[in-house]
Amino acid sequence: GRAAETTLVILIPSDVANLDPAFCMDNVEWRQTYVAYDRLVQYDGKSTKVKPMLAESWDISPDGKVYTFKLRRDVKFWDGTPLDANAVKFSFDRVQKMGKGPSEAFTVLSEVKVIDAHTVQMVLRHPFAPFLSCLATNGGGIVNPKVMREEKNGDLAHEYLSTHLMGSGPYKLKEWVRDQHIILEANPDYWGGKPKISTVVMKIVPEPGAQRMMLLRGEAHIAEGLLIEQIQKLRGEKGIVIVEDPSQYCCYVYINTQRKPLDNPKVRQALAYAVDYQGIIKSILQGCGTQMRGPIPAGMWGHSESVFQYQRDVAKAKQLLAEAAVKNLKLKILYSDRVPTWAQEVMILQANFRDIGVKLEPEMYAYATMRDKIDRGDFDLCMGVWMPDYADPYMFMTYWFDSRNFGLAGNRAFYSNPKVDALIRQAAVSSSQPEREKLYLDAQNIIVQDCPYVFLYQKNYLLPMRSNVKGFVYNPMLTNIYNLPDMWIE
């Protein structure tokens, strides 16, 4: 009957580890937390612009260093505690005191001041243009300060929040049976109105084949773990729709610029010329993706169609190698089974590089080990993917190219160019978007010539779901996160 139809079943490939918003850094964990906590601002539909959420309005001081927010007055946490300025201060202080991954987005934040019960002021160390965008990330969720009752050994209630949700959002955690399912239930008293879907079940089904069967039999509404090939096969099946949207999920190859002969830009360019970009997109992505043009992906402001884009050109590549006087080059490429398409991409790269006389040896490691090697720079080439946490080119430019971010932190090519450093550091503190755009374009042009990464493609977001699920909107900043309060089942 009707009651049953207000349950949404999402198949997910693996269990999540942690639910503490000041701790978790993975989109699959945000899937649960994002709907449990409210933020000051939120993304507006498909766009990367922000709109008010808890904050009804805000002011930014002229120097771009002080943000003043006016909070809604009707918001209560699930336990009835009113959500006020203190809660906001508590939440941001907590993130910073915890000092885990999410705090990275708020390093610029120097102080949160409670002006009155419903006014809160945030002081930045220096102007930081993407700050509002940061507030829409998962780390900006407002946690009920009462959680401190659960604190143990000064852990700021981390242990408790790892397995519990304590917010004011539209969904609460009803049940979490490890490796079986996570069940969220609607918060009937939500200030934004009671969500239509009363229960959301995240059922863990690791095997893609099994997920597909369940989806086809209508036992599940959404399947997250299907491979591209399988999704393509689902096209045209009755009762199934496939959401396809451009995303900012970027796939690229790190080139260790500190190693000989990869320290020579010509060699790196030769590699970039050797790659069969269109072949990869056509075969591995089944056409559901586009080749990247420069480091800033399409869909993010700052992206420019004028940036140079490498295309497969074997002759050119050979010529560059000859100019660099490199012969019989043998390289190792690091990857893991974390991303299922990596193995195939590596094989294509191997074939491509063979054409220009470069021998590529694949080395597959467990994901954890691979990351360790990346951090230590112990590789020649390495496969990588990147997704922005908030809608700002900073997410790409500073992380990837700033020589302060060597290693796993982001600059995985160990790329260092003082000119680029200067440009992107300036862009980071400027609050004028046109100026930043200009700075980033200059930087991109240099970078593309230096070629510290091979920019492969931007993958489309593909999600198969039952056609009776309505209202889902994909926001490129919120991959794996569902706008559950706006969704319903017909």
Partner: protein, 337 residues
């Protein structure tokens, strides 16, 4: 030697083995390259954050200190906190173990139920067609990847025919039975929750069959060869010379003795399966130890790896102990000698 001293002797003998296992796991899990602290704080974290994390996890101490600390914890029954999900490893294991136990137990039960008659049949009809067919069928089981059978079974019985439920331990609509063991079948029986019983039994069928097929061959062969062995013995000849009917000779006189080695195999397989059913668990979304263990290794979650290993070793040893006790019941020489 009475049973009690025998059991306690075996228990004491387990201690050095367990200790060795902890040392071995500890060393092994620490030689794997990779930094759990880095994994924990997320990839965009700065070095500063990582360093703090390392300290927090005690990863900067010398290895022997780390081991000693671990051992001290262990003696208190504390397996530490999982690095991955910040929960006590004991709690994680306590949730997965019943699922694994249930699956393993049921599939071995099915296996024994099929393997014993099949083994007897093939032994008695040695080199007849039945023998060959049974052997080839059983061989198919050992030589074919589990996921093949798994997906095939799902495809037929769940997807096409709809006779059996899909992946999972119990229907979503059915609340798990109340109880403390975590074994759904036992719990639902105890609490007379027939709906849960039916649902969990139906969910068990496919994975249990899938898992049991692997061991069927080994066990059938074991029963067959020990049966052949026993049928050649003098006292079987005596039984025949006394004019006992063939049925009595095979089932009364031969089978009891032939079961002894089979019991060993069952015990060993139990230990092996409890942590080794990774693929079956994956395909049937079974929340067991196997996949937990693999995830832990891939994540370099040391406390979880150690916890799993110790648990699996304990189960293995317990299974062997039970086998030894079963020996006592099957073989009076052990019981009285």
């Amino acid at each position: 030697m009475n049973m009690l001293t025998f059991v306690s002797r075996r228990l004491v003998a387990m201690v050095p083995v367990l200790l060795g296992v902890t040392i071995l796991t500890f060393l092994l899990s620490h030689v794997i390259p990779g930094d759990p602290a880095r994994l924990l704080v997320g990839q965009k974290a700065s070095d500063e954050v990582v360093k703090r994390m390392r300290e927090e996890l005690g990863l900067n101490d010398p290895l022997h200190i780390q081991y000693w600390n671990y051992l001290k914890q262990l003696l208190r029954g504390d397996l530490g906190m999982s690095i991955r999900n910040r929960r006590p490893v004991v709690q994680d294991l306590a949730e997965r173990f019943p699922a694994s136990f249930e699956l393993t137990f049921v599939s071995l039960l099915i296996c024994v139920i099929i393997a014993i008659p099949l083994g007897i049949l093939t032994a008695v009809r040695r080199n007849h067609v039945v023998d060959h067919v049974a052997r080839v069928l059983a061989l198919l089981g050992v030589s074919t990847p589990v996921f093949w059978w798994g997906l095939l079974l799902l495809l037929i019985f769940y997807f096409r025919l709809g006779w059996l439920p899909g992946p999972g331990r119990i229907d979503l609509a059915v609340p798990p039975p109340a109880g403390h063991t975590g074994l759904y079948i036992l719990d639902s029986l105890l609490s007379r929750d027939w709906r849960a019983l039916g649902s969990s039994l139906r969910h068990l069928v496919l994975p249990a069959f899938c898992l049991c097929y692997v061991y069927l061959a080994v066990m059938t062969r074991m029963v067959r060869s020990s049966m052949l062995e026993v049928l050649n013995l003098d006292y079987i000849r005596t039984a025949r010379a006394n004019g006992l009917p063939e049925r009595a000779v095979i089932f009364r006189h031969a089978l009891g003795n032939a079961l002894v080695p089979t019991v060993t195999i069952v015990g060993l397989s139990f230990g092996e399966l409890i942590g080794g059913a990774i693929l079956t668990e994956t395909i049937f979304a079974w929340p067991g130890l196997g996949s937990y263990m693999v995830d832990s290794v891939l994540f370099l979650d040391f406390p979880a790896i150690m916890g799993c290993t110790i648990l699996v070793c304990l189960i293995y040893m317990a299974a062997n102990l039970i086998v030894d006790i079963a020996y006592g019941f099957l073989d009076p020489q052990v019981r009285w000698g």
